[in-house]
Amino acid sequence: MKNQQADRRFFLKTAAMAAATALAAGVARSASTTPGGDALPVLQDVEWNKAPCRFCGTGCHVQVGVKDGKVVAVTGDRKADVNKGLLCVKGYHVGMILYGEDRLTQPQLRVNGKLEPISWDKAIQIISERIQKSPEKFAIYGSGQWTIPEGYVANKFIKAGITNNMIDPNARLCMASAVTGYIGTYGVDEPYNGFSDLDHADCVILWGNNLSEMHPILFSRYMDRKIRGEKISLVDMTTRWTRTSQMADHVLMMQPQSDMAIANCIANQLIANKTYSREFVEKYCNFRGPDGPASLKGVPISFDEYQALVAEYTPEKVSKVSGLSVEELTWLGKLFGNPDIKITSLWCMGMNQHTQGTAINNLVHAIHLLSGHWGKPGDGPQSLTGQPSACGTVREVGTLAHALPGGLLVANPEHAAKVEELWGLPQGRINPKPGYHTVQMWEKFCSPSEEKDSIDTIWVQVTNPGQTLPNLHKLFDPKEKLKNKFLIVSDVYPTATTKLADLILPSAMWVEKNGVFGNSERRTQQWFKMVQPPGEARDDCWQTLAVAHQLFLDGFAGMKKKDGSFLFHFEDKNGKTVPVWDWEKYYDYNVDEFLFEEYRQFTTIKHKNVAPYQELVKARGMRWPVTQDKNGVWRDTAYRFVEGFDPFVEQGKKFQFYHSTTGDDRAMIFFRPYVPPPEMPDDEYPFWLDTGRVLEHWHSGTMTMRVPPLRKAMPSAYVEVNNEDARKLGIRTGDKVKLETRRGELQLNAWIDGRASCPPGHLFVPFFDENLLINQLTLEAHCPISKQPDYKKCAVRISKVG
């Protein structure tokens, strides 16, 4: 036994060293080293298989080692283009997220205030009855952590089955403004480019994005080039000093919301200095101005009108709004006016969680288009996502309240007809009225049942709104006293949301089930189930299918196709019905593959062609559009709309925005005026409050707080206070302080000049801690177009307790 352990230890160490040495040697050669070689650690009795990491939107691939039915090892996947075999500290712990002590393992129903175990059959029956009682008052609240098949099933369940379009995801809270920004500018959602821009850029500009902590592997791609001495610089445009700032060549400390004025200032200088790309603009762009605060597409304006509109954004004027010096603003104008460098702009929550989120997205696209810094490797704008499948499941599958799969819209009759055809529905089944967006959905759930258009039942899947919704006292907490409301929560651990749940369903997670994710750069990634979920935990996908089938059995019309068959009817290759609702037989088939292949039909409609499932099985993700070349080989696309990369661009066009909102293959350069934030510091609430994430914890901490080393490293939330402010207020690190906004108050410990530091008048609080819910204080004000709330700025006051 001892000798066996010694051998095993030796093998483990040898394998570990081999993995690290191979990476050090490979990465040392070049950041753009072609990934390759299986080179998996050879460990006895350990079976390896690929999966994308469960955490952020980067989509790093890991190899998961399983022994005796348990995940025992994780290694970065050297074949993966995204991470080239490396993992960040969260990826290090990804295997441990399965094994927290308090996993949910059986369905539970709240009876007289207490949770009691019930059977799955009973749980499915309860949901079915609840829906049949008032289908119009039922909603699903989903997630950018849904797998693509899970989101597809939930979307079809609501849009084709319940037909009230009441489905929206938590991704509304994190990237809806990026969606509307892309649609307004290019006529279609999602980045045209990808992470390889980091291997080619001369200058990376971060617009309110703490890349080193939020997307560490992407930051590594930049830093590896920097360390090797390549000429590349980093501009950190930020409202607080972070670890990213420490590595930046230029830190531009701006006032909240002033990014809009800064972007317009750059545009003004490009025109005033005649350094804009006249050729690019004349061939490939149209101009758009606002016709109201909620205008996605804007109104046509001429170049001269655009010039006049941006003219007022002089460096002198914008300096007063932004806090940047005239010299810094002039430098930015010259930077974009230099055609000989390649500029990559990246952003995430700083621009998206913004009451003018669509506008600032449009503006950053605009300055890249205007300057011609667009369409070359390393030269363009890109939004990053925070969840592993915000792009794949939300944006591509269309799990937003107004959307249908493949970038289609419920309100467009042609789109609805196409969907009805593909789903075998009777004509007119798709409801043209969009459902409630997230903030509205929870407002209606927290309103009395008697109110017209209220929502009475919400089924939450793979997310934690009891912690992540803004202004929780308004959007979540009232549920407790509203007796007719029913909250169903499918999750893996107890959360702030399950505290108010009436029915809790235990879910399988990550490699306990089959899955497909879609990352930030249009990369679709597949994995297989590797271990059994604990107890009675089951796939979210199955849960929805089981309820759908129960409704079908009960005669609910929406769960029938026009031929009377079940809405989710699939046949195997022998023509036999696949019982997708039967858990005992669920993994006798690959239900994910049936669902994905049905979904794949939608993706060809707007040139978002995802790869066949079996191609994804072989790959480490493929970036859509994926098409077959003349030899029948499936190829993915690094750059959309660019000739030579995108197979849908016509020969000789060079750049072709083939989903242009003006129908002439042009992108839109928007003018969007600077708009002040809805709430600003004043005498009563004199500080800015910013909220966000930390390196150790992922979003609401449901998974990472169960990993002991991560919990130990960052056990609780804190408030980051500026040193000078702290001195004036008599606050020291560790002191208990009270934060108060117009919506709520919270006591937590102060941290002065800790990991990051705020400028005077600013405070920062992370949101991962379910015992210190900072979202009781945040503002639910949202972008009028994307409906995404602003968690980054509201007015707050701080006082020392005791």
């Binding site: 352990q5 990476l23 994780v74 960040c88």
Partner: protein, 90 residues
């Protein structure tokens, strides 16, 4: 016993200085591999997950270390006492 391996990236300014490898080599739970440019592969054998995490952070804070990335992690329990006993017998 938790075994993991990492790639240490040295700051470009100190990439030619070898003292970091000497410092690492003196730590009993760390095995240092062959350096490639500014990258050093190491294997860390820690008592438990928390200890492993602590080392990760301590190494990150060493002078001249720019960043530490993960290549491999094993979650298997290998009893450290028994392993040491075997070693001493050998």
């Amino acid at each position: 016993m938790k075994i993991s391996s990492m790639v240490i990236t040295l700051d470009g300014n100190v990439a030619e200085i070898s003292s970091i490898e000497e410092i690492l080599a003196e730590i009993s739970c760390i095995e240092v591999g062959q350096r490639h440019g500014c990258k050093i592969p190491i294997v860390l054998e820690a008592e438990n997950e928390s200890n492993s995490r602590d080392w990760f952070h301590r190494i990150s804070q060493f002078p001249g270390v720019f960043k530490v990335e993960v290549a491999f992690v094993s979650f298997e329990d290998l009893n450290p006492v028994e392993c040491q006993e075997v070693e001493s017998q050998e």
